[in-house]
Every structure is written in C-alpha cells, then in structure tokens.
C-alpha cells in the first residue's frame, strides 16, 4: 500500500511485524521439533522427552530406516509414478475440458459446466462409490485406482477456464481458423502454450494432491508393492503406536520406536519441503487465479 507508507503509523506497523513474526514462528516450530526429534538418540528421548533441538545428536533412527530400505524405496516409486502419470493426464484432460467450456461456439457449454459442477453439490456417498470401485469396476489392488481417483478437481477446471478466457483472446482463435487450423491444432499450438502459467500452478496443486493422498490406498489397496509413501507412513506411525501400547506384553524391542516415527515422517515429507521454496510462487499465483470467480 504505497500511500500508507507516506502516512506513517509506527505503532501499528510494529504491531503488524510482531503479529506476523509470531504467527510465522508458530507455524514453523513443529517442523523444527520434528527434525530435532528425529535426530535425537532414542535413549535421551525415553529419558527426558522431546525438545526444540536434538538431545544427544544421533542418526540412529535414519540408519534404522535405511538398513532395510526396500519398503521405503518401493513406496517412493509408487508415489512418484502415480504423481507423474496422474498429473500429466489429469492436467491435459482438464485443460481440454476447460477450453471447450470457454469456446462460445459450443452451444451447450453452460450445461456441460453444470454437468461437472453438480458433482460438487451432490454425490452418492461413500458406500455406493466403494461398491462401484470394488465390485463393478474391479479396481481393487491396481495401480490405475491410485491414479484415477484423485485425478480431477472441478474447481481447477473452472479456474483453468477463467485463465484461458483471460489469456487466449477470441479473435486470435478466429484468425487461426480462417488460416485453416483445425480445433486440435489450435488447442495444441496456441491454447496450451498460452496457458503455461496456469498449467504450472494447477499442475503443482494436482501433484501435491497425489503425493499427499493416502486415502485411496487405504480404501482400495492392500498389496505391499502398490502402497504409496503417505499410506506407508500412516501404517508405520499407527503400527508403531500400537506396538508401543503393547510393548509391555511383547517385551523390549530393538528398534528406536520413538525417533523412528519422526525420522520416517521426515523421509516422507522431505521432498516437498525441499522443493517448496522453488515452487511456492506458482502455488501463490494459483491461489490468486482461483480468487477470480470462474
């Protein structure tokens, strides 16, 4: 706010810095505590609990994970495959649909938009959906189920439509048609390149949804080689929890139970945190495009 700068209110500005700084600190502290915990030695944690920095620095928890890395590597592989394949297909099909919804020649475009939008207002509920996937489509324990279910988001399609509306002017399409370009050629050679900024944002949002999806796997996958990273993390956290509860019966175990959980979380979340600073701006612009009503 340029003019506010001239009209100084030092007390208020100081308060703003204080509040924003405080909130930022609160959001980041759990990450610090998590990483510190994962780098602490198990015995120190058992003795005096977690702290804001590592108690007795140790790599033991990570060493334990990577002693038998097969499971983690397989989960990484599944997560990467579904994220890449799902994002590419989902983005492509969504953009095509968004483009059709934008074209004025398509007489039924509003009806088609409502066909998509209605699914966000009403749905059949989880039970028929579950039966459909398991009994009628027989998709249980397959890779396609992990790719297909999180593929589309109606809001993203509507956002893409408003972006295309703003960046591909209608006269441009008209002139391409006069020059003899077919619809597909116009889409591939004009619309796709001109929509790049929106594709980057929506693509990243879609990729994030795939990467963080554990629900689909929990519902429809039980084979080890199809388990994605987040679901594996969930299973490990909850089973270690259970074994902690049953430890008095099962007797002492060798594995670093407490710090292991945290190290596993770091291993599963690490790539997102490492990539985040580089891609943040695309997410921010994605949120902002979305603010424009579709």
């Amino acid at each position: 706010m340029g003019t506010n700068k001239l009209n100084k209110a030092p007390g208020f500005t100081a308060l703003s810095y204080l509040i924003i700084g405080g909130l930022a600190l609160i959001t980041v502290i759990p990450f610090v505590v998590l990483i510190s915990g994962s780098l602490s030695s198990e015995s120190a944690v058992l003795k005096s609990g977690y702290w804001f920095w590592p108690r007795e620095f140790s790599w033991d928890a990570y060493a334990f994970i990577f002693r038998y890395p097969a499971e983690v590597i397989s989960a990484y592989r599944v997560s990467i495959i579904i994220t890449v394949v799902g994002t590419v297909i989902g983005l492509f099909v969504s953009t095509m649909a968004a483009y059709v919804l934008y074209r004025k020649e398509v007489k039924y475009r509003n009806a088609l938009a409502f066909y998509l939008f209605f699914t966000t207002l009403f749905n059949g509920g989880l039970a028929p959906f579950y039966i459909l996937i398991t009994k009628y489509l027989d998709l249980k324990n397959t890779l396609p189920v992990l790719i297909l279910l999180p593929m589309f988001n109606v809001m993203y399609i509507l956002i893409l439509r408003s972006f295309i509306r703003g960046s591909v002017p209608e006269p441009l399409i008209e002139s391409a048609k006069i020059d003899g370009a077919g619809e597909y050629r116009i889409f591939f050679q004009m619309v796709l390149p001109l929509s790049k900024p929106a594709l980057a944002s929506i693509g990243l949002f879609t990729a994030l949804a795939y990467w963080n999806d554990w629900w689909t796997a929990m519902m429809f996958v039980s084979k080890d080689h199809l388990i994605p990273l987040q679901y594996m993390l969930y299973k490990m956290i909850s089973s270690v929890n259970m074994s902690a509860a049953m430890a008095q019966y099962a007797g002492a175990m060798e594995q670093p139970k407490e710090t292991f959980k945290l190290a596993m979380t770091v291993v599963a979340t690490g790539p997102i945190l490492a990539l985040f600073p580089f891609v943040q701006k695309y997410f921010v612009s994605g949120v902002t495009i979305g603010a424009v009503k579709g």
Binding site: G21, L126, P128, K293
Partner: protein, 301 residues
C-alpha cells in the same frame, strides 16, 4: 442437438474424456443411492439386493448416533470456517502492513508451509507435541512442576486442539487469498481517507474489511457446501478409532467410514451417506438462495 454436435464435433470430442470420467466416477454412484433403501449383500450388488424400505434409516436414527454425529459435524465445521475466515483476514491485513520484502517473503513461506503436508504428517507432529510421556508440551509442563496432560484420553481438549490445527494448516492459504483481494483495492480510496484524516485502524475497519466482504461471502458460501462433510483426513489421522474420544470427535464422515470398512454395515454406511448428501444439497441451495437475495452477483449459480 445432433446438428450442434456435428458442427462442433472436434470440440465435443475434447470434452468426451472428462464427461466419461464423471459419468463413471460421480454419476454412477449417484444412482447407487438406492442402496440406502436396500438390504445390501455383496453378491447381489446394488441392484440385485432386496429392498427394505426405510429400515436402514430407522436403524441409524434409533442408534442414537444420528444426532451426535450431525451435531459434531456442524459444530466443528462452523467453528473451523469461522476461525479460518477470521484468522485469514486478520493475517492478510497485517501482512499488507509489512513493507520489508524479505521479512514478508520469509513469513509467508512459513505460514504457507503447513498447507503442503498431509494430515498423516500432522499426526506425527501432534504425537511429537502431545504424547503423554515424551511430548514436548508435557515435558514443558513437568519442567514447570505442573501435571502432564494425557491428551489422548481427554475429550474436551480436542474441541480446542482441532480448530487450532485446522487454522494452523489453512491460514497461510487463506491469507494469500485475502491478501490478493486487499492488493486489488483501489489505492485512491486510501489516499482520500488519508486526506480526510483517517487513522490506520479506521482505514482497516471502514475500507479494507467492507471491501473484502464479497470475497468473504464467496469463500464462506463455498465452505458451507462442505459443512456436512468436513475434514475426514484430519479426524481420521489425528483421532483414528480412539474410543475415548469418540463422543467428542465422531463426525458423519468417520461414522460412514467405520460402518463401511470396519463393520461392513452397508445399510448404515449408505443411509448415513444419503442423509449427508441430502443435507449438503439443502444447505447449499438455501445458502445460495440467501446470497442471491442479498447480492445477485455473488451467488454461485
């Protein structure tokens, strides 16, 4: 219609994949709502199982669960939506007063960070903080010679923890949305206010907040559409099947999930799901109707 499709067939083929997808994965399950009126068995499937009228609903409403989960679902979601809106607007307003670029970028990065992690990861955080024996909160309490809290068996604390975590996870996202709206406000309005001698606080309450209202209405309206669903990921990951917290934290989604996957009670799962879908539709339609009366341009449809 045929002539229209023939004329623009390449464009319609572009829409075909998504149309087929939604037909299979969204509209087919809608036909499956008849399941709620059937005594479902897996072999007979949705259409082969015998009808049983309203038995499933009767069972659901007699179980004593209906009121509990409806109340919890609405209560949590109203608190979530209110707290999220309040904190997002507040954070955006204060962020717009931060001029140091570096400070602004770093704090925005931090605030946005929780948006990117899954609720699975958040459950590890919560464990890390609140675990009875080793959690950092209890370590601090013990250092201060206070009693440690056994958070996983204290239902009432979750009424506070869940909204706090919800805000923690979403405020970065929300503040970006509202900040974009604030940046879009015409600067001349503020200039005129400065000439008229308005204080900073007056500018916020008399200019910024009223001009954010349309954005708030749209976002709250979209949020209302989810009020019967709520954050299943969050409830399932943080609480799971903890019986001690069940009454305080059971929502419609967790009940449907438990009936379906846990006890394989298809009648219960489908009738509760149907109940949820119908309530959702009613809420969206009435909210949209109210907004339409208030300001036609802000309505969703």
């Amino acid at each position: 219609m045929i002539r229209e499709i023939r004329k623009n067939w390449p464009l319609y083929t572009m829409f075909l994949p998504i149309a087929v997808y939604f037909l299979i994965f969204a509209y087919a399950p809608m036909a499956g709502v008849v399941m709620a009126f059937k005594d479902f068995n897996y072999r007979g499937g949705i259409f082969g199982s015998p009808w049983n009228g309203f038995d499933n609903f009767e069972y659901f409403f007699r179980s004593g669960k209906a009121w509990l989960v409806t109340k919890n679902t609405i209560m949590y979601n109203v608190v979530f939506l209110g707290a999220y809106t309040l904190f997002s607007v507040m954070t955006a307003v204060f962020l717009s007063e931060v001029y140091n670029k570096f400070f602004k970028r770093v704090s925005q990065t931090f605030l946005f960070l929780p948006y990117f992690i899954s609720w699975v990861t958040v459950s590890a955080f919560v464990y890390n903080f609140l675990n009875y024996e080793y959690g950092i909160v209890n370590v601090i309490l013990r250092k201060l010679n206070l009693d440690a809290i056994d958070i996983y068996s204290s239902p009432s604390i979750w009424f506070l923890i869940l909204p706090l975590l919800y805000v923690w996870k979403w405020v970065g996202y929300g503040s970006i949305l509202y900040l974009a709206a604030i940046v879009g406000i015409d600067q001349e309005v503020y200039e005129a206010a400065t000439i008229d001698g308005a204080s900073r606080w007056q500018k916020i309450t008399r200019i910024t907040i009223p001009l954010l209202k349309p954005t708030m209405i749209i976002l709250i309206l979209l949020g209302l559409g989810r009020i019967m669903r709520g954050e299943f990921d969050m409830f399932y990951q943080l609480i799971g099947n903890n019986g001690m917290l069940m009454d305080a934290t059971d929502i419609i989604d967790t009940l449907v999930f438990r009936s379906l996957v846990g006890t394989q009670d298809f009648g219960m799962a489908s009738s509760v799901g149907f109940y949820q879908s119908v309530l959702t539709l009613i809420i969206i339609l009435s909210a949209n109707y109210l907004v339409r009366r208030y300001d036609k341009d802000q309505a969703l449809f």
